[in-house]
Symmetry: C2
């Protein structure tokens, strides 16, 4: 693999590459709503076939998985994991339409594609296909054999991915799994996350019933004086789950939480030297963290503390002006981020036990599919190949024991028994928010880094 | 006034009268949203002019008031109060379109007009005009002089009515104020309310700021582990205002609450003999009351206890499926129903003082215009005329010291210094809810009762 010639080819092709990336984000694919999902799966399948690989859109009980392979006749094989679905945009206020793929000069980061999914994660996915195409154009064949698992339900908690991986275990074996992602922060610092948290998403709803309250419809608000309120009932129940200091008060919730391992503690100590709290506060639009901590102790809270988050809450009259109403139902969407050693089934049990303990088992809980956290050692060959890549192209990466976000990487680690690595150069931001973006320069850097990583990994 | 001939005329005109009532409810007039308000005010003005009265649509800083008068050359004058606005229908599930004025055979109450506003209160308003027209047709002139104040902001807390009444005080003087309303319960029992509660409606919102939390946009939910949550912050603040038994915990909130007067206590004791809790539970769709009380003690809670109600709450992601989000803002609409001796300004002060006391003054509170409760003695001539009317046409009415709902009747009592009376036969239900209705037979009975009431009042 001639990296010099390859980089020249990437540069010469960049306008075309960028257009292809914009095509990917122009195709809506909101898994929570359904629009465009089949079309997007087809685009991914065609991209793999366009590289001479085999590829199929494989049905699941939910949105299909795109499964494919390119046999390059090489000794090593990489499983490429990705997703073609994105988050909803409903109710969000965007600078440009979220599915137009427009390029905007953003004040703090420069020329960027502003579009839903461009960062999380159709931008990196399109970039990956661009790189593979350039390598084939320059070298004739890829430096490793590749397999693809591109799912369409990551934003729904990857609910059918476990079944797919179990069913196709033998066809997915590889030396490592790679998840391409833009991993530079807004100052350009490359970051490498060695794992992910797990997640348990759920929805609670409280409505009138045997305990009181209106059962099937909101009623005139004056009745709140003698008919029970599902809104107050839910609020009080939720308030018992979390105290005013945001410490979770569900019995036994912290029982399974493991402290950092020795390897993680060393990474944490190292990380605290370069960790820049101001960059994170700016990214997340906050004036301060909720803990009065700094450095390693703050990072330890961030990475090893579970959350109980209210993603959304709604009920009753929410329109303009006044309407007096005693609502019959109030609902909330919530999630728990699972840190090392926590398991989703245990979390589910504890939430239900808590509601029973406070006498609120009438509050209905719908659990979405959850999954545990997953980690890879910094010593794995694939991880070392990524570290060498980032060092060669940019400089020492900032290594995080894991990410605060979630992805179902336990499937690669535990079911397929292979290490995983995520990353690449490039910068994006505002995932799950309006004006999600990826910088144009970042896409260019990303493509070079993926090419280099494949080279490094093949050479081990 | 020949009541026999008049009743015959009402009967003969009933099909036409019903059509006119349906025209009133077919004209949308949602004050909270604005559609149709001017048209509806015009219809009311034209109805008064059609009776030979003077009438104007008088501008206010909000929706106009329709002001009119018919001088019948009689010794007594009645001020007719009403409203031409209705509640929103957004997000509600109706059997028939809410502004079609359709007639439906409802399982428990029979043939009914199902439409927004038909009960609360364009049905009674149209019925009133029908009656006045029939009296003129039969007798040539009305038995009393009438004045009209028909406002368009009752559902917004009558925010510009005080200014209007103050400004036109001298032109509004009358011997009493009458508010026409369908006052039979679903079993046919006529009910007479001698007053109303006051109300203070408000909106609270909590967003990220100096205390922490995202300030301008929702951010990726994984940040909930280290960035504060406006949702939890609002929930905890609200939970301190009301305990789990729905007792209000705002300092001094009950200070101004007066016990029933001697007259009210006598009414309450009497009322408890005919009060039927099952009918009320059915009307408000509940299995039980929130107090384990019966008879007079339950009624005392209902009528003399203030409420703190959550009319609506919303924030974050409320669409289908999963979206992990740390919302930057969560809001709630709330109201306090004021019982005798409570004043809206004192309520506002106490709410703000409570937020300050718990260190949550960052939670913004927007107060809508509020007003105090109002009561009329059972011994007033206008009230006695209504009691005689109901007795003559149907039987002994159930007399309530006041209603749990709110209306700005303090303006008539305190500013104009005149007694008020509300009521009439007729039955409707589901105010502020989907499938608001009024029975067709009830409209017929209402018209007879209004005619009789005018006769009784004139004869005093």
């Amino acid at each position: 693999m001639n990296l010099e010639r390859l980089n020249a080819h990437l540069d010469a092709s960049f306008d075309r590459h960028l257009e292809r990336l914009r095509e990917f984000v122009r195709q809506p694919s909101i898994s929570g709503e359904g629009a465009g999902m089949q079309e997007m799966a087809g685009m991914v399948r065609d991209a793999i076939r366009g590289l001479g690989g085999s590829a199929d859109v494989v049905a699941t009980p939910g949105w299909p998985v795109v499964h494919g392979a390119i046999d390059a006749g090489r000794p090593k094989t990489l499983l490429l994991y990705g997703m073609y679905d994105v988050q909803p945009v409903e109710g969000e206020d965007w600078l440009v339409p979220p599915f137009a793929g427009e390029i905007v000069d953003l004040p703090e980061v420069g020329r960027s594609i502003v579009a839903r999914g461009v960062y999380n994660t159709k931008g990196p996915l399109a970039g990956l296909f661009n790189v593979l195409q350039s390598i084939q154009a320059v070298d004739g064949r890829l430096p490793v054999n590749v397999k693809f698992v591109i799912e369409g339900e990551e934003e729904l908690g990857s609910r059918n991915l476990p079944g797919f991986i179990q069913a196709h275990k033998d066809r997915l074996r590889a030396d490592a799994t790679y998840f391409p992602f833009f991993c530079q922060d807004r100052n350009g610092k490359p970051v490498l996350w060695l794992g992910v948290k797990g997640i348990q998403y759920f929805e609670v709803s409280c409505r009138g019933g045997g305990w009181g309250g209106p059962r099937t419809r909101g009623v005139h608000g004056s009745n709140a004086v003698w008919v029970g309120s599902p809104a107050w009932r839910l609020l009080h129940a939720l308030a018992t789950m979390m105290d005013d200091e945001e410490q979770i008060r569900i019995d036994g919730f912290y029982d399974d939480v493991a402290p950092p391992s020795a390897e993680d503690q060393a990474l944490l100590d190292n990380l605290s030297k370069t960790f820049d709290p101001e960059t994170h506060l700016a990214m997340w639009d906050a004036e301060r963290f909720k803990y009065r901590l700094q450095g390693a102790p703050l990072l330890r809270q961030y990475l090893y503390n579970p959350t109980l988050n209210i993603d959304g809450i709604w009920g009753g009259y929410t329109g303009p002006g006044m309407k007096t109403l005693l609502p019959h139902e109030v609902r909330a969407k919530m999630d728990v981020r699972l840190v090392p050693e926590m398991q989703p089934d245990r979390v589910r049990e504890k939430i239900l036990a808590h509601l029973a303990r406070i006498g609120r088992s009438d509050i209905a809980v719908h659990f979405y599919d959850g999954y545990p956290p997953a980690k890879t050692s910094v010593n794995e060959a694939a991880v070392q190949a990524m570290i060498r890549t980032l060092k060669a192209l940019h400089g020492e990466p900032e290594i995080w024991p894991h990410l605060a976000g979630s992805a179902p990487f336990y499937l690669f680690r535990e079911v397929l028994g292979q290490p995983f690595v995520m990353g690449g150069l490039g910068h994006g931001g505002r995932p799950h928010s309006p004006n999600e973006y990826a910088t144009v320069d970042g896409v260019r850097a990303f493509e070079r880094s993926v090419a280099r990583f494949l080279h490094e990994f093949a050479a081990v």
